[in-house]
Amino acid sequence: MKPTIAQHYPGDSVLHRLDPRAKIVAVTVLAVALFTRDSFIALAVYAVAAAVGLALSRVPLSWFWRSLKPVIWLVAIAFLAQVAFAPGPSFAHFGPFHLSWRGLELAAYLSLRLVVLVLTGSLLTLTTSPVALTDGLAWLARPLRRLRVPTEELALMVTIALRFIPTLLVELEAIMRAQRARGADFSHGGLLRRARALVPVLIPLFIVSFRRADELALAMEARCYVPGVRRTRLHPLRASWGDVLVLVLAVGAVLTASLV
């Protein structure tokens, strides 16, 4: 009954073993660069980069499809909007809409760019466990500590929150099932009625969550957790030449894209 979060695909590929910091920086660089130059050739370079990443990650393509699915509507709408309202000489009319080659080109470009962006982003989330991701972000956010931002604590909070999402989902399922057995109905009636139907679920869920949080806080204290103290790590982040290589490749892709 363990719901898995679709975002991470456990594996042992080259990409999985990379330092999360290198992956975060590389993906950020690529994602930003993707939007700085409007040309099909540049887009092709990034698409190739993403495709190489896909192949290296050894993550089944269905998983990438899963992360694409939620945005496919967005892509479709963007495509249609561009096709319908784009400038340029038109070759066909449908009521208020007119099709132009320029519009089709723009629509294809923008949609493909969105797809490449999502695929590049999924490369990071699919090959990096949430904990490693948080660790990497916490490290990258370290300069903020000078501004007294408690980055370590924030990272811990995020890690704990991520850790408990599946637990809460199991809890939620159990409570909903129990209330359904008592005649609760979550799928009929108007919005208001459905919202009201959730009260018997949300109250127990809150109470269970708070109880759990209390217990976790006590357990952490019992195991000598002190906020704000410098901690060592079981798996310290260690950059290797592979990580440097990824950064070089990412920057290389950006340079290639901006030169062609």
């Binding site: 898995t4 129990a178 008592r182 005649g183 109905d185 009260v199 018997p200 127990p204």
Partner: protein, 301 residues
């Protein structure tokens, strides 16, 4: 142990049996819930975890059956399947002779009450009375019927309304909370009651009170299926037992403590009830073992 499994308590069986959810007429044969070839697997990531592998069983009317099995043997899943909270991958459940697809099947399903593991977690209302009233109101009963059902259910579980009705559910003790959750199910006047590990996490006193409540309920003519791994309570309360392991029925029917009956328990991380073991060690027939310590004392002295 002063609680006696067979005691018919204050609740009047006639009264409990008389008011029923509008449902199909009783079938001539004694079977209320019948499962045939139930299979079910949970999807866990890309894996499938089998929780029921072709389970067939019959629960006779007004019987009290223990569903025994170690943790992870599929007891909870089976209860969900019997109540229709999970759809079986294959096989079917018949309730009162009705099959899924029959017009009155949903009503028949509703006449099967389930008390979940750690049922106190489902409490949400501001008072014990309100929480117990939730189910009957969902069934669309009128105010008088709801209030009568609430009073009766609270009485049966030993939380009389005049003392407990206005209490906030979370101000009750753990054992009282669990009995309140049980009342929430009883108020819907189920004909069959499926109890999922009702004794887990309670202190001995609370267990004893709960066992007394279950004892009263079985006197009320309800069909009870008690899923537990506490063999002592199972022995005290139930006439028959079903042993479940890895989603399969290993044994079903009246208790048996011959070599096979004992090994089906011990091989599945269970054990022989203490009083039965005592009788065996005394060289007496295990089948005549008493259900309670009081009965044992009476037999021995």
């Amino acid at each position: 142990m002063s609680w006696a499994g067979r005691v018919v308590g204050r609740s009047d069986p006639q009264k409990l049996g008389a008011v029923e959810v509008a449902g199909p007429p009783r079938q001539p044969d004694g079977c209320l819930v019948e499962a045939e070839g139930l299979s079910f697997a949970y999807a866990e990531g890309d894996r499938r975890v089998v929780a029921a592998a072709g389970i067939s069983l019959r629960l006779e009317r007004a019987s009290c059956t223990a569903l025994l099995g170690p943790t992870g043997s599929g007891k909870s899943t089976l209860l969900f399947l019997l109540r229709g909270l999970l759809e079986p991958d294959s096989g079917a459940v018949r309730i009162d002779g009705l099959a899924p697809g029959d017009a009155a099947f949903t009503a028949a399903q509703r006449s099967v009450g389930v008390v979940f593991q750690q049922a106190e977690r489902q409490l949400f209302a501001v008072s014990a009375r309100e929480d117990v009233a939730f189910g009957p109101r969902q069934l669309g009963w009128g105010a008088d019927a709801v209030s009568a059902a609430v009073t009766e259910a609270l009485e049966v579980v030993g939380l009389p309304e005049d003392r407990f009705g206005d209490r906030h559910p979370y101000s009750l003790s753990g054992g009282e909370q669990r009995r309140l959750a049980l009342a929430g199910v009883l108020a819907m006047r189920p004909r069959a009651l499926l109890l999922d590990e009702p004794f887990v996490g309670l202190d001995p006193g609370a267990r004893r009170d709960l066992a007394a409540t279950v004892g009263r309920l079985r006197g009320g003519g309800r069909t009870i299926l008690l899923a537990t791994h506490d063999v002592d309570y199972a022995w005290a309360l139930c006439d028959e037992r079903i042993v479940l392991a890895e989603g399969r029925v290993m044994a079903a029917g009246p208790w048996s403590f011959d070599a096979e009956g004992v090994s089906v328990l011990t091989a599945n991380r269970l054990r022989v009830p203490s009083l039965v073991e005592l009788w065996q060690r005394l060289g007496r027939p295990a089948g005549e073992a008493p259900r309670t310590a009081a009965a044992a004392a009476e037999a021995l002295l």
